[in-house]
Symmetry: C2
Subunit: 492 residues, 2 copies
Amino acid sequence: MTKIFDPAPTKTRLDLNANILKAEYAIRGPLLDKVQAYEDHLREKPGSLPFDHVVNALIGNPQLLDQKPLTFTRQVLSIVQNPTILQHRDILIAKKIYNRDVIKRAELLISQVGKSMGTYTLTKGILGIRNDIANFITQRDGETCDPDDLYLTDGATMAIMQLFSLFAKDSKTGVLLPIPQYPLYTALLTMYNLELLPYYLNEEDGWSTDTVEIENVIKSSISNGTTPQAIVIINPGNPTGAILSLETLADILTIAAKYGIIVIADEVYQQNIFKKEIEFHSMKKVLRHLQKSHPQGEYNNVQLVSLHSASKGTSGECGQRGAFMEVVGFNDEVKEEILRLFSISLCAGTAGQVLVDLMVKTPQPGDESYELDQKERHLINNNMKERAVLLYDIFNNLEGFECQEPQGGMYLFPKLTLPQRAIEESRRVGYEPDEYYCHKLLDATGICVVPGTGFRQRPGTYHIRTTFLPPGTEWITRWKDYHLHFLEEYSN
Amino acid sequence: MTKIFDPAPTKTRLDLNANILKAEYAIRGPLLDKVQAYEDHLREKPGSLPFDHVVNALIGNPQLLDQKPLTFTRQVLSIVQNPTILQHRDILIAKKIYNRDVIKRAELLISQVGKSMGTYTLTKGILGIRNDIANFITQRDGETCDPDDLYLTDGATMAIMQLFSLFAKDSKTGVLLPIPQYPLYTALLTMYNLELLPYYLNEEDGWSTDTVEIENVIKSSISNGTTPQAIVIINPGNPTGAILSLETLADILTIAAKYGIIVIADEVYQQNIFKKEIEFHSMKKVLRHLQKSHPQGEYNNVQLVSLHSASKGTSGECGQRGAFMEVVGFNDEVKEEILRLFSISLCAGTAGQVLVDLMVKTPQPGDESYELDQKERHLINNNMKERAVLLYDIFNNLEGFECQEPQGGMYLFPKLTLPQRAIEESRRVGYEPDEYYCHKLLDATGICVVPGTGFRQRPGTYHIRTTFLPPGTEWITRWKDYHLHFLEEYSN
């Protein structure tokens, strides 16, 4: 039988957007695929691998490990999703299924949500929730926040994707990124054909930010015909955990003011601080201080987007995709374009919006749920701090590892000094040396971490990023053992 | 006092991505802003406007009006968000707070979700939920669905945005869209600098799809040097509500096979069918039939993405952002690129994922919750059908209105014949005639609908899109009265 017609061939990579093909995102890639394959393998054939479980230290996904969701948060959310349960209010209280303050907060949220969790909300998000966020920010900073400057978004990722697409005027538009950085940023620059203007963090000084370098990068890009459009500041840092000082923040804003550069302050780890002596200062607070202390108006044109999320902190609700951004300093026509763009995707998911509300407004002393809530938060924070410190100590006593002291965030980013033969072998098989190390570590121990290559680093240096979320210390001991074995294997 | 430095000016529209500036999305724009302004106004000064409430017939947002969420759905979701409530299982059952089948389903979902609703899921979404979707599709079509072909997404909107960005190879890449269409599509073509290749739906034939025209559009674009990359089919249609016949679907697939064009089947209204004589057929089912009946392989290269959502149907959970896409026929390297792109935004929100599961797998005969669930669904469907029919009758008896019979969806899209003086006046004030009509209608009655201009239409014709969701008939009577007044006002 002959064909009725000749079918055209299927599309190939050549038929797709070349910029997207070039974009790389190291957190979900070959290593994570291997993790999933090994997990399946262990499930089907226990004992068939040199380890009996995988340790996922790849991504900041706290509740995947042993962090529990906060009780008050989930109890309130569950009522908000099913308001008809309140017809049983008396039993719920009498049988201690819910505390009274849980019910009260749920009722407040239900009225803030309005008709139903199932309705599209305003583009910027539920107004009552934005009011609560504004209160949180005002209290945090001692500086007023206007709820109209706030947008609730499906995770900080979505906010950043939309903003970058809007700011991507043309291929001579540049964005300053810290090196190392969270690879979403480099992926987006590639996708939107923006020019990467890297500013290197100072590893030997605890990954501090060098604002002299930032200004040099800007001047240099301008003289090359590039418009530096925006600068990303990750504070606390990812992967570094470094917290920026007041002085550094002020210097960044001065540069932004002089050169007219949009500041994007990724502050999603602001509630993961574990060095008590170091305080987190929001970029917004410092901006307001500078504006007040400079009545001539030098800082009045600074444009700032600040991001926070319910994915990290003590909430750890990554999978629920709840975040917000505060947008200040833009002129009216640009604010309108931001709103128009975000309106095309209608609104952020309501569950995420509610979780943001529960993150910014928590049980207070005297509330029934306060004691348990505090206990849970202390446990989470103490666990994280203990593990960070432990891992840091072990790394710094391990040959070939050098680690900066953790200040915040969820990760450590130690530098690896690898034997020359390992470096040669990795290149021979087509990997970066730190990628190679990560694959070998995973294959031998089931421990998965991310190579520094994915985050970018000074050429000739190698790092790995690990979360310190996995429970216990047994995995760290196994890593240490494997590392010493690795050094031995590749030494001359 | 002199300034320490001269601040740079703020960014203007000229500093932004020009393609995004050009994109238009009629559903959230000046009319919706006016709706919000009027609502605020009525709240602050009751009686100050010619109407006492706003009727939002602008957007398919069922639970904003009087559609309730499904009881079983929200009860299960609420437990899944707060699994610790199950320690009170006995009381929950004894006091009839939850039926046993609600608890059983929640327990199943909790195990499918895995560790916690707060964890990032696999990029494609929770596997157990994808298995349930695959069963749903297999049963719906009588054709197997592979869960590996499924992606859970934050609403169909997000899926479409990502796909279009990936398929946007260059400015000579085109996408066929039905005219009229849901304005997300035209907005994205503008944003991604894709060429619009319109194919006009046949209004006089119930907004049917003319596949001869589709092929002509393709041939014409190819001879103009454009590559037609994809074709969007909205079935049931938005704004038209038209349901495509088996024959039309098969013809579309034949064209796709001949020319190698990706088919994007937006089927989010597949559970809003109210003309019993007309059956919805999924594009996937028809493709599989054609593949089986053509063993020579003419249809084996067809690439198809099918979209469905928990926003519409009887769920109506728009605000929760739960949807899925089924991706078949692509070669491995393109499938890999789709996965890589979606992995950058990590995963869809877990609440939305759970709601999709509850949409595709519902209480069955014999289950405790079955009776109530059926009752609720019938009520929703009957209400929608009654209002659709009522509105259709009224429109067709109204001078200057001409309406195609509704088959599915949530909207009517009647054609307006406007008096010449109204057309002239509208142009004088800088509006399209149907935009002008919508503003006048809103100002006089508080009823808000969307001008056909936003959806595109044959030049020289004017339409409006209205949902038939608002309860009661009083608003329709007021519309009719205003319309007759409008005709009188603008006649000679």
